[in-house]
C-alpha cells in the first residue's frame, strides 16, 4: 500500500521540474504529470498512507476514503485537462503555478490532520495568486494583491481556530468538528471564506476574471471545491449552512445577470452553484451529502468547459471578454461555440452532468420537507440557466455580429474542451456507471434521476426559462448589458481603503505641516534668530532709552542704532561695553529661563 507515490507529490515535483524544460519535452511532461497522478490515484485503496512524525504530532498525508477519493479524482482530471489546454499558450509561471495549485488541492483533500490541511490550504493561495499575476496587467496586479490580503485574513482566522482546537482537544485529527465552541467557529469561518460565503465572497468575482485564460480553470476547480470538501468533512449537517447556501444561490444570480465581463458572469455562477453544495452539506442526509459531492464533480466539469470556451474567445480576439465587445462569433469559432453550448446545457439539462447531481440536491430538500429551500433550488436552477447557460453562449457566439473574424481555437484547446464535453455527456448519460459509483455516503436506495416525471419536470423548467429569456429579449425587457462594473462587498475595502488613505493623508500630513510650522519654522527659527542677533537686540533694548535720555535726536538715535548693529555684525564691540552687554544678555536669558 505504502509503495504508491503520493499523488500530490507527483504534481508538486512536476511543478518544480516543468519550468526548466523546453519545447516538446516540456509538453510531454506536462501531460504525463497529471496522468501519473491519476495512475497513483487509481492504485489507492481506502486507508491511511504516508504518516510522518513531526515533533509530537503525526502528520497524515494520505487519508484515503470515499470522500477524499472523489475529490482527488476530479482534481487530477481537471489538472490534466487544464495542462492540455495550456500546453502551447501558457507561460512557465502558469505551468508552475497550475501544477503547484493542483498538487496542493490534492494534498489538502488527502490530509488526515489539521496541520497538513492548513499547510496545503495556504499553499493553494500561492498557486492562485501566481495564476492571477501571470496575466501581467495592472488590473490583475491589483486583484492579486486583494486576493492575497483577503486570503491571509482567512488563513489567520483558520489558523487561530486550528491552534485553539488543538489546545482544547490535544489532537490534530481532522474529522467531524461541528459548531460548538470558539475554535470551531473560527475554523468554520476560515473554511467559509474559501467557500465564498456571502460577504466573504468578493475575492472570487474580483480575481477570477483577472487570471490568465488557462489559470482560471484551476482556480474554478480547486479553491471553492476544496472548501466544500473541508465543510463536508468537518461540518456535515450543520443547519446554518442551509441558509448560507440559500443566500449564495439567490444573490449571486442578480450579479451574474448584470455583469458585463463573461468570466465574471461565470464567477458569480460558481458562487450560485457552490451555494447548492453548501445547502446539501447543511441538510446532512446521505442523499444530500452525496448530491453535494456529485455536484462538485459535475460542476467542475461543466464550469471548466465554459471557462475554457470563453478563454479561447479571449485568446483569439486579443483580450475581448465583455459582452459589449463580443457577439456573432459562432461563424469564426463554431467548434468552441458548440463546446460552450454543451457546457451551458450541462448546467442542468437531462443527459448532461449537472442534471444528475443537481436533482439529488433538489430531491433531498423535498424529502426533508424544506419547502423554501426546495423552491430556492428550483428558482436557482432556472436562474443560473438563464444567467450563465443562456447569456454566456448567446451574447458571445450569437446575438449581434460585431464583425469580429478570428481563427478557431488551437487544436490542443479544442481537444481539452472536447474531452471535457465528452465527460459532461458521459457522466450525464451514465451516472450509475460513473459518479454514482464514487459517492462517499451509503444510501438505502440508489438514486434514480431518469424517471419520466423528473425528466419532464426538468424540461418544462428549462424550456420555459428559455421562453422567458427569448420573450424578454424580443420585447427589450431583458436588461441591456452596459459597459459598467458592479459594486460588491469588495467596495468596502476598495473604496473605504481609499477614503481611509485620504483621511490619513489629510490628517497625518496636516499634523505634519502644523508641527513643522510650530517647531521648525516657529520655535527653532526663533531660537536661531535670538542666538544670532540676541545680543544686539538686547543691547538696543538697553541703549535706546539711554540715548534718548541723553538728549540725542531721533535721527542720531537711528544712526547710533545702525552703528551698534554694524559693530555686532562685525564682532568689533569694545571689550568693556561688550562684556557689559554679554552680562546683560546672560541676565535676561537667566530671568527668561527662571520665569
Amino acid at each position: 500500500m505504502s509503495n504508491i507515490i503520493p499523488p500530490q507529490f507527483i504534481l508538486l515535483i512536476g511543478a518544480l521540474v516543468v519550468p526548466f524544460l523546453r519545447g516538446r519535452i516540456q509538453q510531454i511532461i506536462m501531460l504525463l504529470v497529471p496522468l501519473l497522478t491519476f495512475g497513483a490515484y487509481l492504485q489507492m485503496e481506502e486507508g491511511v498512507y504516508w504518516v510522518v512524525k513531526l515533533l509530537d504530532f503525526e502528520l497524515t498525508f494520505g487519508r484515503a476514503d470515499k470522500l477524499s477519493l472523489i475529490f482527488v479524482n476530479i482534481f487530477t482530471l481537471v489538472s490534466f485537462i487544464a495542462a492540455l489546454y495550456n500546453i502551447k499558450t501558457g507561460s512557465n509561471l502558469e505551468h508552475f503555478a497550475g501544477l503547484l495549485y493542483a498538487g496542493c488541492a490534492v494534498g489538502m483533500v488527502l490530509a488526515g490532520d489539521l496541520i497538513t490541511l492548513f499547510i496545503f490550504w495556504e499553499m493553494l493561495t500561492v498557486g492562485a495568486v501566481l495564476l492571477i499575476l501571470a496575466r501581467k496587467s495592472s488590473t490583475s496586479m491589483g486583484a492579486a494583491l486583494r486576493y492575497v490580503l483577503v486570503h491571509i485574513v482567512g488563513g489567520l482566522i483558520l489558523l487561530s481556530g486550528i491552534v485553539l482546537h488543538i489546545a482544547e482537544f490535544g489532537s490534530i485529527e481532522f474529522n467531524q468538528i461541528g459548531l460548538s465552541n470558539r475554535s470551531s467557529y473560527l475554523i468554520f469561518i476560515g473554511f467559509g471564506l474559501n467557500c465564498a460565503w456571502p460577504l466573504l465572497h468578493a475575492w472570487l468575482p474580483d480575481a477570477y476574471p483577472e487570471a490568465t485564460v488557462g489559470g482560471v480553470i484551476y482556480m474554478a476547480a480547486f479553491t471553492t471545491k476544496g472548501a466544500i470538501y473541508a465543510l463536508m468533512r468537518g461540518f456535515p449537517g450543520e443547519p446554518s449552512l442551509v441558509w448560507i447556501g440559500v443566500a449564495m444561490a439567490i444573490f449571486s444570480l442578480f450579479y451574474a445577470l448584470l455583469a458585463n465581463d463573461l468570466r465574471r458572469v461565470l464567477a458569480y455562477s460558481i458562487i450560485n452553484q457552490v451555494g447548492f453544495m453548501v445547502i446539501g452539506i447543511g441538510m446532512g442526509t446521505a442523499l444530500a451529502l452525496n448530491g453535494a459531492a456529485a455536484h462538485v464533480y459535475c460542476h467542475v466539469l461543466y464550469k471548466s468547459l465554459l471557462f475554457m470556451s470563453i478563454g479561447a474567445v479571449i485568446l483569439q480576439t486579443g483580450g475581448k471578454s465583455k459582452i459589449t465587445e463580443l457577439g456573432g462569433l459562432f461563424k469564426s469559432m463554431p467548434i468552441t461555440g458548440v463546446f460552450c453550448l454543451i457546457g451551458a446545457l450541462a448546467i442542468s439539462t437531462p443527459l448532461f452532468s449537472g442534471f444528475v447531481s443537481k436533482s439529488m440536491l433538489v430531491s433531498a430538500a423535498g424529502k426533508a420537507h424544506l419547502t423554501i429551500v426546495w423552491l430556492v433550488l428550483l428558482y436557482a436552477s432556472a436562474g443560473v440557466f438563464l444567467c450563465a447557460g443562456l447569456k454566456v453562449p448567446f451574447f458571445t457566439f450569437f446575438s449581434k455580429d460585431r464583425g469580429i473574424r478570428v481563427k478557431e481555437a488551437p487544436v490542443n484547446m479544442l481537444v481539452a474542451m472536447g474531452i471535457t464535453a465528452l465527460l459532461c455527456i458521459a457522466v450525464g448519460m451514465f451516472p450509475h456507471q460513473t459518479i454514482y459509483k464514487m459517492l462517499p455516503f451509503s444510501m438505502k436506495y440508489a438514486y434514480e434521476p431518469y424517471t419520466f416525471s423528473h425528466i419532464n419536470a426538468q424540461i418544462l423548467l428549462l424550456t420555459f426559462s428559455i421562453l422567458a429569456f427569448v420573450l424578454m429579449l424580443l420585447s427589450g425587457f431583458y436588461p441591456a448589458t452596459k459597459k459598467a462594473i458592479l459594486l460588491d462587498i469588495d467596495w468596502v475595502y476598495r473604496s473605504l481603503s481609499k477614503q481611509f488613505y485620504k483621511v490619513m493623508d489629510k490628517g497625518l500630513n496636516g499634523l505634519n505641516v502644523v508641527t513643522g510650522n510650530l517647531f521648525i519654522n516657529g520655535i527653532t527659527h526663533g531660537v536661531c534668530r535670538f542666538a544670532s542677533n540676541g545680543a544686539a537686540k538686547s543691547s538696543l533694548l538697553v541703549m535706546k532709552p539711554v540715548w534718548k535720555m541723553s538728549g540725542l535726536s531721533n535721527e542720531d538715535v537711528t544712526i547710533q542704532e545702525a552703528q551698534l548693529l554694524k559693530t555686532f555684525e562685525k564682532g568689533t564691540t569694545a571689550i568693556g561695553i561688550g562684556s557689559v552687554l554679554v552680562l546683560i544678555t546672560l541676565s535676561i536669558l537667566t530671568i527668561t529661563a527662571i520665569v
Partner: protein, 85 residues
C-alpha cells in the same frame, strides 16, 4: 454606456422561435399525462401535480429575476467602469 442587446430577426431565427413555442407547448401538454392514474409524478408537494407547475415556476423565476435585477439591483450596484480608478 452602450447597449448590446440586439434582436436578430432572420428567417432562421423565426424558425427557431417557432420551434421553441412548439416544444414549450408540447412539453406543457405532456405534463397533462400525469393527470392519468397510470402516470405517477412521485410528487412530494401537492402543487407538483398541477399541470405545467415547473414551467410556470421556471418562467416566473426568470421573469422575477430580471425584474428585480433591472429595477432594484442595477441602480444600486451598477457604476461606471472607471469607478475604482
Amino acid at each position: 454606456m452602450g447597449s448590446s442587446n440586439q434582436t436578430p430577426a432572420s428567417k432562421g431565427v423565426k424558425i427557431l422561435l417557432a420551434a421553441l413555442f412548439i416544444i414549450c407547448g408540447a412539453v406543457f401538454l405532456v405534463d397533462f399525462l400525469f393527470m392519468l392514474e397510470s402516470f405517477d409524478k412521485h410528487a412530494i408537494y401537492k402543487w407538483e401535480n398541477w399541470p405545467g407547475f415547473y414551467g410556470v415556476l421556471g418562467f416566473v423565476s426568470c421573469f422575477l429575476l430580471v425584474l428585480v435585477s433591472k429595477f432594484i439591483i442595477a441602480p444600486l450596484i451598477q457604476r461606471e467602469e472607471n469607478f475604482y480608478e
